[in-house]
Symmetry: C2
Subunit: 363 residues, 2 copies
């Protein structure tokens, strides 16, 4: 590059971020992204595809996806005027941070948690203050309360937390909301349908609370990218100003509406996955050398005495793609596995038993 | 609200923005959003829908849409490493502004232009400096060069410009790029396929140039929201850090790829729309009292001596929904009409002739 590099115009906090890249692997069983192993039922897919065939693709989506917001209101019990939908909940989380953060303002995050929060906060020029989990990998509510009282402008609590699966206790959340009425408290309930515990009931009482949900997990729509936020309607009007017009395409809107209308069909599979999670936890717990952490989500983390990269490679030899999360703070020995169909889970247990046995023998 | 209002936490520049709302109207002919009147051909739709039936919806889209970037490289002649795709080009424009703007930095915009640029720049806390068009509604290149030399950090030139249809002359763009090597110069070619003139050939020479395109206009995909940016690969790596992971859903990616592969099928319709644009311009030019501005896009603006709201309402009586753009700077007498199929255009001309005749008589 010449005398002037256009990269000099890029904000230094952006330059300092390492580019995120994802390696591709060959696998038979994909248990690395907390996806739902069950596809949308074929009959529902066909109904959405029939609609798509008739609808003109050259026309913009609705300016305001009213029908989706109303179905979401029926599902969540919250006011449709306080509901915003996006391309995954990430998009609306980004909008919230955009209208609040600027250099000097502080985003508080437990650590480790979902990495995208920190990324967005950093790009927006905010200060990111991380509060470590406790050694048992649950939230350190005392430390979070102290940090918030000191200097928080906005906090994001992923509950159940990705990648650890822990929940933020509701009584401690109430304290946080009460003690910090001028601070935005975001609870990301991406895995709510697997925990069956929500704080959405507090929205009517606390105008500083925002709850996020997604269709990417329990609703089997990761491929179509739909999420939503629930918040005070006055705050929603402000967040909406940061949302790009026509943000969600007509196809994803139609799919989300159809799935909400057919949500009873999905609930059996969700219950099966919850039961499988418990069975998987129990089975892993019996494997010598494996430490597994309880989870309220559709994934869990486990530790072994060995290099997680070795465990990852050995599982991959058996066709199982998990997530090596050892680069996260506090998780240097850990991997994350998503709960899948019973056959996949059995194969995972069989493989892990083999690997642990072989590694123990070779010592 | 109580003692603390959570709205106090919202950035003042966001509070000051008026919420954008869109009124709904009944119409027969929609010529208000510069959409392509021709839907994607049914055979192409069916191929995409067949793919969607087979593909699992519960799995995330590709982390990096390599196949789409490679098809875009073949179409544009630009390096795939310097191509980023988003939910409409707006999303990637937002990413570019996110990595550059902060309070004190300046976004330069011709005025009037596409309103979303100013909205994004304001939310991000940048200073927006508008440079009026000349009285003939073409770009004031001298004024833009002066403003850039003075204080620009980034500029967006929509060319052809929405809503006026004018092009930024390529020789003046070269001067702008040469004189401001440390400033990001964005050219939004959303309507390129209708102007058939691009500055993408300058990308290899000027690392400060970014060119945007969209599938929402000529490619008939407004409903699926796909756009892209072409830029220096090193700059693309930085912009990519502001892009949310898995931003485009699998269905929109598949549709964009399929349309690029079948682009020859679309070109006949594009040529027809260009011919219709010229015919529409000529016909409007003959109507007494109507001033129409030449356009290189698939829309044009026209002025009459009457209140634009009256013209808008009278056209709507005949089933024609146009866009009243009179709230834009310099356009207090103007409306914008999209070029449609020949029948629609004829109906528009007939209606406008009637309205102008009646208004003249009633004076």
């Amino acid at each position: 590059m010449g005398k002037y590099s256009i990269l000099d115009k890029v904000k230094p906090e952006v330059r300092s971020i390492n580019s995120y890249t994802l390696r591709e692997y060959d696998y038979e069983i994909k248990i690395n992204q907390n996806e739902n192993p069950y596809d949308v039922p074929e009959q529902i897919k066909r109904e959405i595809l029939d609609f798509a065939l008739e609808r003109s693709w050259s026309r913009y989506p609705p300016f305001d996806p009213v029908e989706l917001r109303e179905e979401l209101a029926a599902y969540t019990g919250w006011n449709p005027e306080g509901i915003l939908a996006g391309n995954g909940s990430n998009e609306i989380i980004q909008c919230v941070l955009e209208i609040i953060l600027y250099p000097g303002r502080k985003l508080i995050l437990p650590s480790p948690t979902f990495t995208v929060y920190k990324l967005i906060g950093t790009v927006l020029g905010g200060t990111v203050q991380e509060v470590p989990l406790k050694s048992d990998l649950t939230f350190d509510c005392d430390a979070i309360e102290a940090e918030m009282a000191d200097s928080g402008d906005v906090i994001i609590l992923c509950s159940p937390n990705n990648p650890t699966g822990c929940m933020y206790p509701q009584d401690r959340l109430v304290r946080l909301l009460e003690q910090n009425p001028g601070t935005v408290v975001i609870v990301d309930e991406a895995y709510y349908e697997f925990s069956k515990e929500t704080v959405a009931g507090l929205l009517g009482t606390y105008e500083n609370l925002i709850v996020f949900r997604t269709f990417s997990k329990a609703f089997s729509l990761a491929g179509l990218r739909v999420g939503y936020g629930l918040m005070n309607p006055a705050l929603a009007r402000e967040v909406n100003k940061a949302k790009l017009p026509y943000n969600i395409n007509f196809f994803s809107i139609a799919a989300a509406i159809k799935l909400l209308q057919n949500r009873d069909i999905l609930s059996g599979k969700i219950d099966e996955l919850i039961a499988e999670r418990e069975a998987l936890y129990t089975a892993m717990n019996t494997i010598n050398g494996v430490t597994v952490y309880p989870s309220r989500s559709n994934f869990m983390i486990f530790e072994t005495p060995y290099d997680p990269e070795i465990i990852f490679r050995e599982l991959l030899k058996d066709g199982l793609l998990v997530r090596n999360v050892s680069s996260y703070p506090m998780l240097s020995k850990a991997l994350r596995v998503s709960v899948s169909i019973p056959d996949d889970n059995r194969r995972f247990i069989t493989s892990l038993v083999r690997i642990m046995g072989e590694l123990e023998t070779s010592e």
